[in-house]
C-alpha cells in the first residue's frame, strides 16, 4: 500500500525554510539551463521567420555565406529566365540580385562597434519578403538612402531615422525603419542595389540571387537544375536550410550555459541529498510507526523518493519562473555566416520549460535515492527507540 502524497506535502510545508532554501539552490541551476535553451530557441525563431519555404538562395559554388559570394551578371540573366519562377506584381520573375556587406557601428552592448549587415537590393527583393515599414519611407532608387531594421534602429544609437551613417564611399541617409516580424531582416540595413554596388566597386557582380519558385516540387527541380548547370558555377540552397545552419551562432553561449547548469546542478544535488538525509533522520520515529502499521519497505522508499521529487518539482517551477522575465529581453549574438550581429529575443517556450522541469525532477530522483533507501532499510525497533 502506498503512503498518501499529502503526507509528503505536509512534511515539506512543516520545514518551510529548509524546503525553500534547498529548492532555490536547485532552481538557480534550472533557471540557467532554461535561459540557455531559451536563447537558442529565440535564435531559431528568428531564422525560421526569415526563411520563405519556397525561396532558393543562389551563391557561388562551394560558398556557404552571402558575404564571400559572387554571382556574375551573366549567371543572373540565366537564373532569371529559368522556368518555374513566380511572377511578381508587375509581371517580372521574382529573382532578386543582392549585394551583401557589413558596416561597423557602435551598439548599445558594444560601444566599440559591432558589424551590421548592409544589403543592396531592388524593389523585387523587397516584394519577395514579408517586411513592412513602421516609420518613414522606402529608399529611392538612385539615391544614397537606406532603411534600417527595427532592431538596428533600437540597438544602434547612430542608426536612428533622419541620421546619416558612413560606409562604402560616403554618407547614407536613413529614411525609414522596417520590421519583418521577429526575423533577421530586423538586424539589417537595406539600400538601393545599384548605389550600394557602386560604393563597393561591385557593379558587375551581386553576392547572391534570391529566387521564388511557384511551388515545392518546382523548387526542388529548380535547385537541381541550377546545381547541375556547370556554366553557372553556382550553389543553390533553400532559404530554410541556409538560415537553419546559422542557428549554430548561438552554440558557444548554449554550450557554456548547459555546462554551467550541469555543474551547478551537481552542487545543488549534493545539497538536496543533505536535506533529504536530515528529513529521514528527523522522522526516524515516524518511519518506525509507519512500518508497524504495515507499510512495506518499498512504500517507505517510494514515499521519500516522491518527497524528494516534489521538492525538485518546486525547484523546477521556481527556476522556470526566474527565467520567465527573459522573454522581454532582446540581445544580440554574432553570426559567423554573415559576419554581423543578429538580434533576437529569448523564447522560453513550452518545450524549453518542460526540459527545465525534467532536468529538476531527474535531479530530485537521483538526489533522493540514497536517503530514501536508508529510510526504507531502518530497523523497526531501533527506529522507534530513536529519540
Amino acid at each position: 500500500m502506498a503512503i498518501p502524497i499529502s503526507y509528503n506535502l505536509r512534511n515539506l510545508m512543516v520545514r518551510k525554510t529548509t524546503t525553500i532554501m534547498t529548492a532555490l539552490g536547485i532552481a538557480l541551476s534550472v533557471a540557467i539551463l532554461v535561459a540557455s535553451l531559451a536563447l537558442v530557441n529565440g535564435l531559431r525563431t528568428v531564422f525560421r521567420n526569415t526563411a520563405n519555404p519556397l525561396q532558393l538562395l543562389v551563391l557561388r559554388k562551394g560558398g556557404d555565406s552571402e558575404l564571400g559570394s559572387i554571382v556574375s551578371t551573366e549567371a543572373f540573366a540565366t537564373l532569371r529566365s529559368q522556368a518555374g519562377i513566380t511572377l511578381g506584381r508587375r509581371g517580372e520573375p521574382l529573382a532578386s540580385p543582392e549585394l551583401v556587406n557589413v558596416v561597423n557601428l557602435p551598439s548599445v552592448d558594444n560601444p566599440k562597434g559591432m558589424n551590421v549587415t548592409v544589403r543592396g537590393l531592388t524593389t523585387t527583393g523587397i516584394e519577395m519578403r514579408k517586411v513592412r515599414l513602421i516609420a518613414g519611407r522606402w529608399f529611392q532608387p538612385g539615391q544614397r538612402e537606406i532603411v534600417v531594421g527595427k532592431a538596428v534602429a533600437k540597438r544602434y544609437p547612430s542608426a536612428r531615422i533622419g541620421r546619416q551613417i558612413q560606409f562604402g564611399k560616403g554618407d547614407w541617409e536613413i529614411v525609414g525603419v522596417m520590421h519583418g516580424g521577429e526575423s533577421a531582416m530586423d538586424s539589417e540595413i537595406w539600400g538601393d542595389l545599384n548605389q550600394v554596388s557602386g560604393d563597393y566597386n561591385r557593379q558587375a557582380s551581386p553576392s547572391s540571387v534570391l529566387l521564388q519558385a511557384t511551388d515545392a516540387p518546382t523548387l526542388d527541380a529548380l535547385q537541381h537544375s541550377i546545381e547541375d548547370d556547370r556554366r553557372l558555377g553556382a550553389r543553390a540552397i533553400t532559404e530554410q536550410d541556409y538560415y537553419q545552419n546559422q542557428t549554430s551562432s548561438g552554440a558557444p553561449l548554449e554550450f557554456l550555459g548547459i555546462f554551467v547548469a550541469v555543474i551547478m546542478a551537481i552542487g545543488g544535488g549534493f545539497a538536496a541529498i543533505n536535506t533529504m538525509y536530515a528529513a529521514v533522520a528527523l522522522r526516524a520515529k515516524e518511519i518506525g510507526t509507519l512500518r508497524t502499521l504495515g507499510f512495506s519497505e518499498t512504500s517507505i522508499l517510494a514515499s521519500f523518493l516522491i518527497e524528494s521529487m516534489l521538492l525538485s518539482v518546486l525547484a523546477g517551477i521556481l527556476g522556470c519562473l526566474l527565467a520567465l522575465p527573459l522573454n522581454w529581453v532582446t540581445t544580440g549574438v554574432g553570426n559567423f555566416a554573415s559576419f554581423s550581429e543578429i538580434a533576437f529575443q529569448f523564447h522560453t517556450g513550452t518545450a524549453v520549460m518542460f526540459a527545465g522541469l525534467t532536468f529538476a525532477i531527474v535531479l530530485g530522483a537521483l538526489g533522493g535515492f540514497l536517503p530514501a533507501r536508508s529510510a526504507a532499510r531502518k530497523e523497526i525497533l531501533s527506529a522507534l527507540r530513536d529519540e
Binding site: 525554510t17 532555490l24 554551467v260 544535488g269 549534493f270 545539497a271 543533505n274 536530515a278 528527523l282
Partner: protein
Amino acid sequence: MFSYLPLVLRNAVRNRRRTALTVASVAVSLCLLGVLLALYRSLFYGGDTTPGQAMRLVVHHKIALTQDLPVAYEEKIAQIPGVRAVTRLRWFGGTYKDARDTRNQFAQFAIEPQTLFDVYPEFRITASEKQAFLSQKTACVASRALAEKLSWKLGERITLVGMPITLELTLAGIFDDPGVSSVLYFNWAYLRDSLPVGDDHRDMVQQFYVEANNKDVVSDVARQIDEAFADSPYPTKSEPEQAFFLSFVSFLGNLKLFLAAICGAVTFTILLISANMLSMSVRERTREVGILKTLGFSSGEILEMVVGEASLIAVAGGLLGCVLASGLCAAIAAAMKNAPGFVSAIKGLSLSPLAAALTLIIALLIGLASSVVPGLSAARTSILDALRYNG
C-alpha cells in the same frame, strides 16, 4: 576564537556524511566560480600574451573589416617611426576539397613571404623551408596544427577553389606557432597576378599586420598610422592585436553580462546551501547550546563557534574547489586545442593565483555570511527553552 578550535572541529566532523556532502556541494560550486573567473580573465584580458603579440598591431579599414585598403599603404606604414616590420594580408575564402566536412575549413591568408616572419617572430620554421617558401611563387606554409589535421606532407599539392579564381599551391613549409591553430599562408603576389587585369581587387588588401619596436610605442604607432590616412578615401583603424581579437569575442554575444550573471547566481546558491546546512545542524544542537550556556559559555562565544564551523567548512570547500577548478581549466584548455585563433587565450586557460585567491575569499565571505542567522539564533536561545527542546 582559536581556543575553541578543537570543539569547532569536533562539531564539524560529528555528522561526517553531512559535512562531506556540504563540503562537496560548496566545492563543486566554487570550482565553477573559479573556472568562470579564469574564463573571464582569459577572454577579456587576453590571458598571457607572447612578447611578439604584445608588440603587434592590426591595421584595417575604419568602417568595416570587409572593406579594402590599397596595398601601397604598406610602404607608408613602414616609414612611420617605431615600426619594425609590416606585412599585408588578404583573406581568401577558397574551398578545399569537400567544404561540407568542417575539417576542410581553415583560414587562408595571402601575405608577403619576406615580411611574414618578421611580423610573427614567434613562428618557428626551418631555414630551408623558409627559403623554399620565399623562392617559389606558388608556395604556401601551414601551421603544424593544420598540417597534422589534414595529414599534409611537404610538397603537398593544395587546390583552393575561389571566385573568380582557383589557386594551385604547393606546401613548402610547416611552422610551429604557440597561438593560432589552423592557418595557411601563401604569396600575395600569386593571388594578385591570378586576378584578371583591371579587377578592382588586384592592388587591394584587407589588413596590415605591424610589429612595433617595443611594447611602449604600440599605441603611439597606432595613432600615427590612423592620422596618416585619416583624410584619404580609405581611412584606417589600428589597434593592438589583442584588442582586435577581443572584438571577435564580443561576437559570441554579451558574454560579459552572461558570465557576471552566472557568477552571481553561483555565489548566491553556495550561500543558500551553506546557510541551510548550518541552520539544520544548529537546530539539532539546540539542547547542547543550552548545556553550553549552563556551563557558562557566553552568547558571543557560541556565535563564534558557529561562525568558526561555517568558515571552516566553506574554506575546506574553497580549497577543494580550487583544486577541481585547476583540473577543469586544464581539461577545457586541452579540449579547445582546435579553437579559432581569436579565442586562442582559452588554449592557455588556467586558474591564476589571483582567481584562486578570489575564489577562497568568496568562500570565506560566504562562510561568514551564511552563519550569521543560524549563529545569532543559537546565541539568543534562552537556556530554559534550549533544555526543554525536543528535536
